[in-house]
């Protein structure tokens, strides 16, 4: 039945689970960051930099970044297979999504880890 090579894992169940799991990661991270900002009045550049120098924060941020990419990829793949019927257009859309996400991921790692 309709199995495509371009979805995330070839299994509807894993895609579904990954989407749920990454959604939880993003929700927890949002609470974490908003909580930090609210509980640190007069937050300045020095404090912000120090906060992101902590390895735990970096790992959590990277996990969230990867979650955003995985979540968005599955979502965009589903949207493209629902609404874009000509295969060439669909592939072009998926390739654009992939490239955009890849650039943001590498760029994001560069920013977080300051490599």
């Amino acid at each position: 039945m309709g199995v495509s090579i371009t979805n995330f894992s070839r299994s509807g169940l894993s895609d579904w689970l990954i989407q749920r799991f990454t959604a939880v990661v993003m929700a927890v991270y949002t609470v974490f960051i908003v909580g930090y900002i609210l509980s640190t009045p007069g937050l300045d550049y020095g404090q912000w930099k120090e906060f992101f120098e902590c390895t735990g924060v970096r790992i959590f941020t990277l996990l969230t970044l990867i979650s955003v990419v995985a979540h968005a990829w599955i979502g965009m793949w589903i949207i493209s297979t629902d609404y874009i019927k000509p295969a060439v257009l669909r592939f072009a859309f998926q390739a654009t999504c992939f490239l955009t996400m890849f650039v943001f991921l590498v760029w994001g790692i560069d920013i977080i880890w300051g490599l």
Binding site: M1, G2, S11, L13, D15, W16, D82
Partner: protein, 234 residues
């Protein structure tokens, strides 16, 4: 009452159009939509529609009635035509054969995919395969489906992928056999459903639940299938 009906005869019309009829509704009576169709047919015998039992059992006269899918024979005017106007269209998302008659081949193809029959690889007993009352109770809310297609044709996911997404009606029946204590093909059935389209195109829109003329709940059955897939694979 003003009744607007979708008309299309592929042999003579280049495009579908809506035709208005003025129908006299007998005073003091709450007619069913199917009765209104019969009155129109007396005026205009060229109108084609499908019907059989006229009491909500055969599932032949599924229509889009004032924007909502339902069976013409069990939908009273008092319920669907509150504004005094009735608009009848074919069930959306499937090809039209003529007027409000649709081609249900894709719908049946999806039904066929879930192997809608009991599979049991153990030797047949002398009399019959017995079930306890509790096991039998698990089939309630599943076996009553009359395959009218009101649900699947109201489902956007089925509109976008009618070849790949099984749709609410097929999935309700898939669960009917997954839940049957006499069926031994559970694992094969689940393996056939674990692709990105068959089950997982359900986004929980729940149009199926709101239109089912038998009051069934395909979304809940799909949730059960997902849980079975989950416990099989995790």
């Amino acid at each position: 009452m003003l009744v607007s009906v979708y008309r299309y005869n592929p042999e003579t019309d280049s495009a579908p159009y809506m035709q208005d009829y003025q129908v006299e509704i007998p005073a003091g009576k709450d007619l069913m939509v199917l009765d209104v169709l019969a009155l129109i047919k007396e005026q205009d015998s060229s109108l084609a529609y499908r019907r059989s039992c006229r009491e909500g059992v055969c599932g032949s006269d599924g229509l889009n009635i004032n924007g909502k899918n339902g069976l013409a024979c069990v939908t009273p005017l008092s319920e669907c035509a509150k504004g005094g106007k009735l608009v009848l269209r074919p069930l959306p998302g499937l090809p039209v054969i003529r007027d409000i008659v649709i081609d249900m081949s894709l719908f049946y193809k999806q039904y066929e995919k879930i192997k809608p029959y009991l599979q049991n690889n153990t030797p047949a007993p002398a009399i019959e395969r017995l079930q306890s009352p509790e096991e039998r109770a698990k089939l309630d809310g599943l076996y009553e489906c009359i395959l009218c297609a009101c649900c699947s044709t109201s489902c956007p996911s089925f509109w976008w992928n009618p070849e790949k997404f099984i749709g609410p009606a097929g999935l309700l029946q898939a669960y009917r056999f997954l839940a049957d204590s006499r069926d031994t093909a559970t694992d094969d059935r689940l393996a056939d459903l674990d692709d990105p389209f068959s089950v997982f195109r359900c986004r929980g829109i729940m149009n199926c639940v709101s239109v089912c003329p038998k009051g069934l709940n395909p979304t809940r059955a799909i949730g059960h299938i997902r849980n079975m897939l989950l416990s099989r694979n995790v």
